[in-house]
Amino acid sequence: MIELGLSLDVILESFFLLLLPILAVAILFSENMAAIAIMSCVFSMVMAVIYLLLAAPDVAMTESAIGAAISTAILIKSMQLTQSRILSDKFFCLANIISFFALLFFGAMMIYGFADLPDYGQGSAPVNSYISKDYIKNTPSEIGIASSVAAILASYRGFDTLGETLVIMVAGLVVYFVMNIERPVQVDLLDEKAEAVYENKIWMTDYIRTMLLPVSLILAFYIQVHGEISPGGGFQAGSVLSSIFIFYFVVADIKSINFHKMIKTLLKLSFVGFLIYLLMAIYTAVIGGYFLEYYAITGTLLGHKIGIFIIEIGVGITVFSVMLMIFLLFEYKLQSKPITRST
């Protein structure tokens, strides 16, 4: 039984791994921008399945929400914004052939170098031996939660995560300033063709509102709250939640939404998320522990649980608000842009 399970694992893994270069080659030779967006979406989905097969459910969850949903949405929106549909690249010019052979050399060197790595899947490899082993061994006794990933993310390497939350917040801020939305919107009248699409959208919105949205919201909150004892946490829940809302806004009646106010609110919300994290860290230092030492909150393992729970909420709020804000900025820019119609 175990033999069979293992071989099935290997077969599935190899199948999905072989899909990746095929998709990459398809993207390389594709000249249709919409096809590129869809293929990069499929690429991320396949990647998420591979992460799941490699026993990394947290990464799989994030990849499927972010790679497949959010980045595809942003990609399509920026394609609409720049009005690029068909490419006209020449593949067989001299520069490309030179770069192909240079990269072929690079790839050969990489494979030659990889030959010196420890065998794939070996439990005794250096990656699995020293600090990782310690983390796994000490998580139940030192942190008191089951998910080793959440323990490292929020406690052992909490300072890294603080920095990463700051990076995400700053990236949101940069997009906000680059997009420069301080201009009046030009709302133009819908023509007949757009009206038909609009009708369709309303029907889909109703379906999403009644069927998908509540279920997905519960899923996102489950991932957030349950992150300590199962795969999940702030990063995953934030990206799942924002991908649901992006899906909603893609099909929703967008004209009736006050974008300006919403974007401003989300910007403030991303600061709030980061501040929750930072204040938690300062609080632990003030009450007598080290910076980010949750143990000091109650003096027992319960303190760790409370601390991790609170900072995961902070991370979740920041990730959610930044992702949704970025999408809405692109959407707003698209709406306010004077549309050049072919008809």
Binding site: L6, L17, L20, P21, A24, V25, I27, L28, M33, I36, S40, M47, L54, A55, A56, D58, V59, T62, I66, G67, I70, S71, I74, S78, L81, T82, S84, L87, D89, N96, S99, F100, L103, G107, M110, I111, F114, Y120, G123, A125, V127, N128, I131, Y135, I136, P140, S141, S147, S148, V149, E164, A171, V175, V178, M179, I229, S230, P231, F235, L329
Partner: protein, 112 residues
């Protein structure tokens, strides 16, 4: 197998980046390059017969776990990756606003 795929994806990502003149497609190529690196790290942490690192104290001795550390690092790398991807896309749309095109050659023509 995994490492060979990683090397092929690194090459293909860079090749997309180099052969196209379209700025958006360049960023897609960069995304593939990044994903290859993520796959490399996750593959390093894989243990045959290992389960996801959800640890219970009573199974600590008799159960293999895949390494949680690369997973944590890659988890945050994905989220930071999409944030920088969005910054790049907003810069591309700014370039489009200034030059009216996102083709590299045409931008060079206008700069002359």
């Amino acid at each position: 197998m995994n490492y060979v795929i990683v090397a092929i994806l690194l090459v293909l990502g860079l090749l997309i980046l180099l052969t196209t003149k379209n700025l958006i497609k360049k960023i897609v190529g960069l995304g593939i390059f990044q994903t290859a690196i993520l796959l490399f790290y996750i593959s390093l942490g894989r243990v045959h017969g290992g389960v996801p690192p959800i640890v219970e104290a009573k199974h600590l001795e008799d159960q293999l776990y895949s390494s949680p550390l690369p997973q944590v690092l890659m988890l945050t790398a994905i989220v930071v990756g999409i944030a920088t991807f969005a910054v790049a896309m907003s810069l591309v749309s700014k370039i489009n606003q200034e030059f009216g095109t996102i083709n590299e050659d045409e931008i060079h023509e206008q700069l002359k």
